[in-house]
Symmetry: C2
Subunit: 230 residues, 2 copies
């Protein structure tokens, strides 16, 4: 069954009209007809099975046949990461963490960041594909670039992975089910940024003795946090 994403679908929805883009995809690209079944996810715990009632290429109408819901997990895995110079490394980071079940991703701007702009739409579309592919019912929230200094003030008491000396522990023993995990850029956070995080209650974490690429560090931290909460 083909899966579509539409945030307008709720537990109350009975009839619905798909937007023009999805209507074109359903009726023109996939050539689905009246009576055919499709799946619609709202990215917030709901998967509806729907029957096409009017296979219109601009305004495809559907009726909900059945619904499956899932309760949101009790934990939140929030990875705040400095985007890498090579954009495709961040794209796969978004794909993989979505497959595994990340809750929220924030892109950080460090003074050491080489990349200072990102394409949010591209990341969102990758996350939607990965959600469908992995049969997840929750779409991670993806937040636009914010400066490290601002982020640690707005979200105190998280975890920070950096390469400076420090009292570091593993997420496997310290992760608390909800606090953000900060992953630095290719050249690491600046010392000032790392100090400001600590002043704002951040605990220093280690991801092992080897030098991991930014995106590998982010994925590894996400997996460790998930194993801790599950």
């Amino acid at each position: 069954m083909h899966l579509f994403y539409d945030t307008a679908i709720t537990e109350e929805t009975v009839h619905h009209q798909m937007n023009e883009n999805e209507s074109r995809h359903i009726c023109k690209v996939l050539r689905l007809k009246d009576g055919d079944l499709i799946g619609i996810q709202n990215g917030n715990g709901l998967l509806a099975t729907a029957k096409i009632t009017d296979a219109n290429q601009k305004r495809c109408a559907i009726s909900i046949v059945s619904k499956e819901t899932e309760v949101a997990p009790s934990y939140s895995i929030h990875i705040a990461i400095c985007p890498t110079k090579m954009n495709e490394r961040m794209e796969w980071f978004v794909e993989k963490t979505t497959e595994l079940g990340v809750t929220e991703i924030t892109f950080l701007l460090s003074k050491n960041s080489e990349r200072k702009a990102i394409k949010m739409e591209r990341f969102e579309s990758i996350a939607i594909s990965a959600m469908k592919q992995s049969k997840r019912l929750f779409l991670p929230k993806i937040n636009p670039l914010v400066k490290v200094d601002q982020f640690v003030k707005d979200h105190p008491n998280g975890f920070i992975a950096h390469c400076y000396d420090g009292e570091k522990k593993s997420l496997m023993t310290t992760f608390d089910n909800c606090s953000p995990i900060l992953i630095g850029p290719e050249g690491d956070f600046t010392l000032d940024e790392s100090d400001l995080a600590k002043i704002n209650g951040y605990q220093e974490i280690t991801l092992g003795n080897n030098r991991l690429r930014t995106e590998t560090a982010g994925l590894y931290a996400c997996m460790q946090a998930l194993m801790r909460v599950k």
Copy 2:
């Protein structure tokens, strides 16, 4: 310091002549001169610091200045995986597992495999780069394609991840420090392959309730095994 890979360097090496390819890279591309220092890894636990004694573009001569060695880990993480249709997904699997510390990778040919040929040189070159980048001293062994049936007979008593029903456990509680972990193709192993693995002593493992892409499953299994042994 620029890092090079040369399996001929051993604990006994004092003087050495780099091969033509590396000599060209050292002297022509990087324009290093007599007296400059380079690092040479042998992929088997040794990192030598060497001084260039004759910056010849075809036969660059070096003298070893110092050596750093590392004992091989007591565990072995051997992932046997069916290559994905899209080759770049396997390339990043090799890069990421090398960064994290995989010991051995075998490519498997399942009756359900869409990809039936791989380029070994490309994977080896990616593993060498990832080894250098992550400052590891051991290069994973990468084995060419072998049929699933043959592999489970030659390597009995491993672990197999598949989507059929079964008595499945997590690697976090069952991994034994050395047995191979089998990851199937996009369409899963055939039932016959899965049964043959079980006859040969394979334990069935779960990687969670969500549908992971082949390369994500392989990486996740590698990370779980690593966390179990460390």
